[in-house]
Amino acid sequence: MTQHRYVNESAEVYDAIVVGSGITGGWAAKELCEKGLKTLMVERGRVVEHRKDYTTEAKPVWEYPNRMKVAKKLIDEEYAIQQQCYAFHDGTKHFFSSDKDYPYHTEPDAPFSWIRANQLGGKSLLWHRQSYRMSTFDFEANAKDGHGNDWPIRYEDLAPWYDYVERFVGISGNADGLPQLPDGIFQPPFEMTAPERDFTALMKDKHPDKPVIMSRCAHLTAPQKIQVDLGRMQCMARNECQKGCSFGAYFSTQSATLPAAARTGNLYIAPNSVVESVIYSEQTQKAVGVRVIDNDTLEQREYFGKMVFLCASTLGSTQIMLNSTSKRFPTGIANSSGVLGHYLMDHNYNAYVTASIEGYEDEYYIGRRPSSLYIPNFHFEPKRYHKAFKRGYALAGSAARADWQGLGASDGFGTSFKNMLHNPGKWGIGLGAQGEMLPNRDNQVQLHPTKKDKWGMPQLSINCKWSENETLMMEHAAEVSVKMFQDAGFGDIHANVNYAPPGLAIHEVGSARMGRDPKESVLNGYNQAHDVPNLFVTDGASYCSTGVGNPSITFMALTARAVDYAVKEFNAGRL
């Protein structure tokens, strides 16, 4: 397999520059390289090589000094924000960025948890891998209920690109035939446990509007040639993905898009290169490259390209754009609309309900499943909206047996206590909400006027809050989950609604949105900047609404589609 080449100083004018190497950057680079463009991928963090740099993979828990827990001193000093992420532990912390090195500003009344993963592969190494297409209803929601601007595309525009990326990524799931959750190109779904199967069947009868399905995730359950050719293999059901997976069983930049891009011979990578701004030529009115600060030496250098794809994550790309000022764009590149930085959104995960399930003592399972039960949004069009709030939410969760960790504080001592813990405990089930957040101009990121990070970049100042709509939605999600559990005959039902600030879904989107009207949006329907034809932003910044599903598969489809358009325009001499 042809290798990519690492670049430091370079005076070359590349056909394309891709900023970022996560899910979106990996896809942009793969598509550009495969279409024959000499492409430079610029990554602010260190190199992480597939397999070689998964330093904690397969390391058993007893070999960690703190048995997977992270030292309090280290958390207090460097990871107070990052440690809020469920996947942060002693085996993954090296893939999260230190809060100390990556400061950002929030007002006291508007906390925001910005989870960072600045290395080659970005958050593609850490993501939760759940993969749901946005539906016709999601793309129409803004137009129909008047919140936010109309998406300039519809489901039909993206459907072939979903097909395209899913075929490559490998999505495990079932074709469920639901209007609110379009089916895709699937490999076999993971199995349900016995109580989950019965719950699913029972809800079909008692809550026919809330079908329970197996979640869809980017894991290979029946690898195809397109994946095997890249050295990828079937999922081993370890569910320790965030340590890195040498089987390449879950989709990441390292397992999939990077080797695909590298084998074209067109991929060049500039690691440790913190993009400070996009260089804009007043003369040609185009982007001509990027200005970077060396991650280690803090020296400045520039890279040049005929087009620039910003794929640095929603907030990362927005920060770069805001910092790319020029005579024509005094408030940030491609910001003639003044919309850049506004309409930041995240998903709301603030409701969770648990219950216990009697029986099934003879039932157990093998392996650790990387998927869950999933109940797609059932408020998916205005006529189905609840009277108290707009839009909707999905529910996700699993049934499993209690174990020694959950039972550790139980009463008892001696051999009988040890024998009790020898066996798994009762079955329990949980359902958590994943709610949509309405687009709101006041939810904004700006550059802080005085605070800078160690690279001299103005810090982002994030001001983003839930509205009453999201809070009411969470309360409703908890009520519905309770009702479903009651109807299933489950006991010990506990509903939790909390008010954690935005950010922790790690689905931030919207701060450089698409739109038909250049006066109210930054990007057109092909993720191309209205104002700068050779500048594309294909990560979550381009979103007009959150939809309900996990967004990464849509980032991929948008990116592949945008590259296809960009290369056609490039070849026609229009970029």
């Binding site: 828990v61 030292a71 199995e191 079937q234 370890r238 399972y365 001592f413 066996n423």
Partner: protein
């Protein structure tokens, strides 16, 4: 701790053989050895407990998970692990709460029996701890919470130790696939291996 290296080595070897990737085995194994060598929990951080508190804790460890046909909590180093974990992972408040509850147990034993807790028979030790768990006088919520914390830590230390994880329960490093429904008898114990601990 060097004796623990082969486990990861074996797992990696098995994985790598499956991958057909023996060429890079050296790299991974070097990482594994380096990581394992850096672990010395028993001596790395001590100094939270007094000798007396440590003696009480050791006795509690044996009461919670005794040696049977598999090692017990003391055998696998839970006494040292709990102290290490409290020092490194937990807050100063939790550390003090745990010290206090050990002192309470020591004092209760001394008052009731004239003996240090660790010198009581196992039955007498358990009887005293059962009183604490039932919050019977003179124990109250003040001791109950910290004691449960301590107990959870002992349990955590035991089942995340290699003997606890592999001899007492079923440790699946590489399950190979997910099967949603199997008779429990086919597995025969709870899993010690988890996706998140």
């Amino acid at each position: 701790m060097q004796s623990q290296n082969p486990s990861r080595r074996t797992m990696l070897k098995r994985m790598l053989l499956g991958l057909g990737l023996c060429a890079s085995e050296g790299v991974l194994l070097n990482n594994a050895v380096a990581a394992a060598m850096s672990y010395d929990a028993a001596t790395s951080q001590t100094g939270l407990f007094t000798l007396q508190e440590r003696a009480v804790l050791k006795a509690i460890c044996e009461c919670v998970i005794p040696r049977t046909d598999t090692p017990g909590a003391v055998d696998v180093g839970c006494t040292e692990f709990v102290e290490h974990q409290l020092l490194v992972v937990f807050s100063a408040d939790t550390q003090q709460d745990c010290k206090s509850v050990l002192q309470s147990i020591y004092q209760r034993s001394a008052i009731d029996t004239g003996k240090s807790f660790e010198l009581l028979t196992t039955d007498a030790q358990i009887a005293l701890l059962e009183k604490l768990e039932a919050m019977q006088q003179p124990f109250s919520q003040e001791q109950y919470g910290p004691f449960k914390q301590l107990k959870s830590l002992i349990v955590f230390g035991y089942y995340t130790s290699m003997p606890g994880a592999t001899q007492e329960l079923t440790y699946q490093a590489v399950p190979g696939r997910f099967v949603g429904s199997v008779p429990y008898a086919d597995i025969g114990s709870a899993y010690s291996s988890k996706d998140y601990y």
